[in-house]
Amino acid sequence: SHYEEGPGKNLPFSVENKWTLLVKMCLFFGSAFSVPFLIVRHQLLKQ
């Protein structure tokens, strides 16, 4: 096959730099986790 093979080569993001990966994962999972809390805040402020 003409695709690159090996660890991290079949992912849609880079795992070359662990600190960049840490920031990306924090943003990805952190933003998703905060959504329900932001919705509650939004609903309370709306009244």
Partner: protein
Amino acid sequence: VHSMPPEEELGIMEKAIGLTFCFVSLFLPAGWILSHLEDYKRPE
């Protein structure tokens, strides 16, 4: 398909920093909102 040993072993400091950032990014926004819940409620 076979796995290999890690290219570089993580030090205790790197693990601590990584875990701290993971937990802070998860719980800081949630904790901020939960601790200010009363401020978001309008008095009738």
